[in-house]
Amino acid sequence: MHEPLDPLIHVPARLRIVVTLATLSEGDALSFTRLQNMLELTPGNLITHLRKLEDAGYLTSTKTGNGTGSTTSLALTARGRAALDAYTEALRNLLGGLAP
């Protein structure tokens, strides 16, 4: 009996978001703009996915500054990292040996 794949992560765009943020060290954050450039998603699409992940407690967003100079930084929470680990493990079990 395999663990079910987390439906919140098991979406191409959200999987890429979570994996990209997970490559940062704990305590680091990535700006919205840089994440958007890396994933080549539209702002609206990215925001929609980020909201779902934030609502689930998988990531946090911090806005600094005001107006056009404002920056939104995104970081994976411990819960998000654990969810990705569990997802990877479930996927590995499902496929019988996924390279890490």
């Binding site: 794949l5 439906p7 098991h10 979406v11 191409p12 765009a13 959200r14 999987l15 890429r16 994996v19 990209t20 997970a22 490559t23 940062l24 060290s25 704990e26 305590g27 680091d28 954050a29 990535l30 700006s31 919205f32 703009t33 840089r34 994440l35 890396m38 539209t42 702002p43 609206g44 699409n45 925001i47 929609t48 996915h49 980020l50 909201r51 779902k52 934030e54 967003s61 806005k63 939104t72 930084s73 970081a75 990877t88 996927l91 499902l94 496929l95 996924l98 390279a99």
Partner: protein
Amino acid sequence: MDMTGDTDQAASAGEGAGLDPREAARILDQARRQARRESDPRSALAAVVGAGVFLFGYGAVWWSMRDQQVYSGPAGWSLAVLYGLIAVSAITAGVAGRRAHAGVSGRARRQLWGVAAAVAAAGVGAWVVQGSLRYLGVSLEIVYGIYGPTVPLIALAAVAAGTAAMRESWLQLGVCIAIIIVASASTFFGPLGAWGLTGLGCCLVLLAYAAGLVVEQWRT
């Protein structure tokens, strides 16, 4: 989340109910490799430019002194070549570093400032000691001919080695240790040896490093 979007297009349009686990595994692996590659500050191009500094910069100084029976120092033009190349190398490495760290905040950014402070302290400290040696009457041959091309380099490489070890970047650690060995061993051969052997040896080390980086990045 305080972000404004142009649409609220349903993420459900891309929901993964039908996402094949094999496809998910491919996306996961690809995203991880891409993120690691794009956030890697190491640059093969910067390493090749650094190799050029040693070959042509140190080489120019060696060339200008090669016929001196009594040490009288390098020619002004050779120092201009050396410092010009150092500036180009610093800019190349800086651009690669800025690209990798763009948009990253938090601990990594603070660590970067810490490393920059350590590098600056090592460099300034080494050059201050060079000044003090001259002040105390040590010969120009030792101060500028042997100490100048090697000890500041050793100090900077030692800081870089420590940073590489903390990051478990073994390739970079090996390069730093090799530079320290080459620079320190070259001091046994006088000013010409210090400039010439350090230049040639460090050039080869950095070219090997660039090749190693290309292979490593090609594999990932």
